[in-house]
């Protein structure tokens, strides 16, 4: 019996002492704003799909923001402030976006967020960020309703959230731009409209249709396809019998490529024109020779024509990222840089120090941001939309996308 109680006693004593020593508190060295020493660390959050089928785009966003943060730290862009990036994966799902938004809001060092990729995700995040006055800059959302309110089409524009900005160009610009190109440059007057029923495609076709009919063109027919479908034979037949000059497609290349392929195979050799969702090398790969003669609009000037863009490409390569910056890399870099510029303005207005409530100040400063970024001049209008309205038309020639025309949308 004696050794038994001894065992018990030692055990209790050991654990007791150990527990007592545990009553210390761990020093928190995770960077939160307002520490007394020289440099304050602030975080730029990223919300994008980092896994799943859209991960290539999401990781491009993450890396580009990372590059912006590193560049700002290297050049000591904002004296006394060190930037940090924190990326969260939203899996392209609105629910996860909502969770990420609360998490970013909860982290007091987060001073601005770049993202998300999907409009549906943005809908669940906007209000949470807005309640916390946390700036959110999307590099990719194109739905005009996000900045101009649900009734933007009827002309009653109202900005729903003061904290939401975007560097991406909206459907309200890209669709009409394509309409002007088709009507004036190509001289085509009869369109067949197809969309794939996702938010991007529907928005694009809607704005295209309005502008095209305003210019005097006619809509020979319209069809809607289910995203992910393979058999477009009924659509192809409808296009053929409508006698349209060209097809305007709203959606992404996985749906557009089989459509154009089946259309050309059916003997109807008319151009398919789409938005930046089609402007992807995979489009040409999937559609093969059928892609020749198709067009796509994309936002901004071609990378090779802007020196700032070339710097970005060089730096990105030098950064050693294993994945490409993708379609939204430039916009993500500009989004992050816009936040950095806003922080800079706030700090210099507050005699070189970050104010105690920096989020609100940064939100205010965002509207005055103006700098020359990867995609051109970056600044925001009264709705939070990018003022840069430069677009480029690309066409498939001999199996590669080539620049056709760069222009600025006006009106």
């Amino acid at each position: 019996m004696r050794n038994r109680s001894l065992l018990v006693l030692t055990a209790i004593a050991a654990t007791g002492t150990l527990t007592l020593t545990a009553c210390g508190s761990r020093a928190s060295n995770s960077g939160s704003g307002g520490s007394g020493s020289g440099s304050t660390t602030v975080t730029i959050g990223v919300d994008a799909p980092l896994t799943g089928s859209l991960s290539a785009l999401g990781i491009g966003i993450q890396n580009s923001v990372d590059l912006a943060v590193k560049t700002a730290n290297k050049t000591n862009e904002v004296p006394g402030v060190t930037f940090k990036m924190e990326a969260l994966d939203d899996k392209a799902a609105p629910q996860q976006g909502s969770l990420n938004a609360t998490q970013l809001v909860g982290d007091s060092s987060v001073i601005g967020v770049v993202g998300p990729l999907n409009s549906g995700v943005a809908l669940t995040m906007q209000k949470t960020f807005n309640n916390a006055n946390l700036v959110e800059v999307s590099p990719a959302n194109t739905n005009p309703a996000l900045t101009q309110g649900p009734n933007w089409q009827t002309g009653t524009k109202a900005r729903p959230f003061a904290s939401y900005f975007r560097t991406a160009t909206t459907d309200a610009i890209q669709g009409p731009f394509a309409a002007q190109f088709a009507y004036s440059t190509l001289g085509k007057k009869k369109v067949f409209l197809v969309d794939n029923k996702d938010a991007y495609g529907v928005g694009l076709v809607g704005t295209f249709k309005d502008e095209f009919t305003k210019l005097g063109g006619t809509v020979a027919g319209q069809d809607h396809v289910t995203s992910g479908a393979s058999d477009f034979s009924s659509t192809v037949n409808a296009i053929k019998s409508s006698g349209a000059d060209f097809v305007y497609f709203g959606g992404e290349y996985p749906d557009a490529a089989p459509l154009t392929k089946q259309l050309k195979a059916a003997g109807d050799n008319i151009s398919v024109i789409g938005g930046d969702g089609n402007y992807d090398p995979t489009y040409v790969k999937l559609a093969g020779t059928a892609a020749n003669g198709d067009y796509a609009t994309s936002v901004g000037a071609p990378v090779e024509s802007l020196p700032s863009a070339q710097t970005f490409v060089t730096n990105y390569k030098a950064g050693g990222y294993s994945q490409a910056y993708g379609a939204y890399g430039g916009y993500s870099y500009d989004s992050a840089w816009a936040i950095i510029e806003a922080v800079k303005a706030v700090v210099s207005a507050n005699s070189g120090k970050l104010p105690s409530n920096p989020r609100q100040a940064v939100e205010k400063a965002m509207s005055n941001v103006n700098f020359s970024g990867v995609t051109g001049t970056v600044s925001f209008d009264q709705y939070g939309d990018a003022t840069n309205k430069q677009l480029t038309v690309y066409g498939v020639k001999n199996g590669v996308w080539t620049t056709i025309k760069t222009g600025t949308f006006s009106g």
């Binding site: 319209q222 396809v225 289910t226 393979s230 477009f232 037949n237 490529a257």
Partner: protein, 309 residues
């Protein structure tokens, strides 16, 4: 004005592909009363099997040599996978309540899809599938691609072969016996386990052929192409009368026609113009399924095993 003959042909071609897949549902259901949800994925793996063979052949190979090899590749891939899933997932549950194998089938379906998505090279986006040379042919104002001819030939030969097999071979008669009464069939000396495996393998073989047909017609295959297509194929099997092989083919053809024609001609019904587009066609297919269940639950040709369950 909408080129009715062309639409009819397109619908029938789509339907023939559904029919090829539906045969697999119908045989398996007829024998073990299991809705094999993974069958759509078997179809998909068949297509990827064919693509792997094609990629392995090198670029100079003539399609006339490649096609038979791809067919073999597709059939072998889908059959092996189907037999493995039967062995590993379904057989241990043969005496479990019905819910268990159904849930397992869902699990198998998702697993197969994710395996292809995650581990087949660049299968995260659609993969280009080779196309047949020659064509298109104009026959009486209707445009026919060479892949379409492949579909017709494949569907006709497969159905005839299956009919012969089930009616005239020993194994085929054993299958019929097992479908009617597994216990008695066992007493009569039929190895029902073997019959069930053969049923799975047969269905998978047809799914493999359908996979090749699909790839040839649309020029691309993707990891999730089996999900909705499988759903339509099952609808086709129910339409035709589950357990009935000819019914599956007929159901497929009807469903293909419904999908193709509703996408265009619903617009001619007054007040329905908005409901006619490709994006509504799957809804109409579903409505047809519900209507058939209400009006003629045994299907168009009637079930072969109507008195069961």
């Amino acid at each position: 004005m909408h080129e009715l003959p062309q639409n009819l042909v397109n619908g029938l071609l789509l339907g023939a592909t559904y029919g090829l897949i539906a045969v697999g549902y119908t045989i398996v259901y007829g024998i073990v009363q299991l809705i094999n949800f993974a069958h759509g994925e078997i179809f998909m793996t068949g297509a990827f099997g064919a693509l792997s063979v094609y990629l392995g052949l090198g670029s100079g190979t003539s399609m006339w040599i490649a096609i038979p090899l791809m067919l073999i590749g597709a059939i072998v891939t889908s059959t092996v996978i189907a037999v493995l899933t039967e062995r590993l997932a379904y057989r241990p549950l043969r005496n479990a309540p019905r819910l268990a194998p159904l849930i397992t089938a869902i699990g198998v379906s998702i697993t197969l899809q994710q395996l292809v998505w995650g581990f087949y090279p660049s299968a995260k986006s659609p993969r280009v599938f080779p196309s047949l040379p020659g064509g298109p042919f104009h026959i009486g104002g209707v445009l026919i691609q060479s892949a379409d001819i492949f579909v017709v030939v494949a569907a006709v030969i497969s159905t005839l072969f299956l009919a012969y097999f089930v009616r005239s071979t020993r194994t085929g008669r054993a299958m019929q016996a097992t479908a009617q009464d597994p216990d008695t069939a066992k007493l009569m000396g039929i190895n029902t386990d073997r019959v069930i495996v053969i049923a799975f393998a047969l269905g998978a073989g047809f799914a493999g052929i359908a996979g090749v047909a699909w790839g040839l017609r649309y020029g691309e295959i993707k990891f999730d192409m089996g999900f909705l297509t499988g759903l339509y194929a099952f609808t086709a099997a129910v339409l035709g009368g589950i357990g009935n092989i000819y019914g599956a083919m007929l159901g497929g053809l009807v469903l293909g026609l419904v999908q193709n024609l509703t996408a265009i001609y619903i617009a001619d019904i007054p007040g329905m113009s908005q409901f006619s587009s490709q994006s509504w066609s799957s809804v109409w297919a579903f409505v047809i399924l519900i209507l058939v269940l209400m009006v003629r639950p045994q299907g168009l040709l009637g079930e072969r095993v109507a008195d069961r369950a």
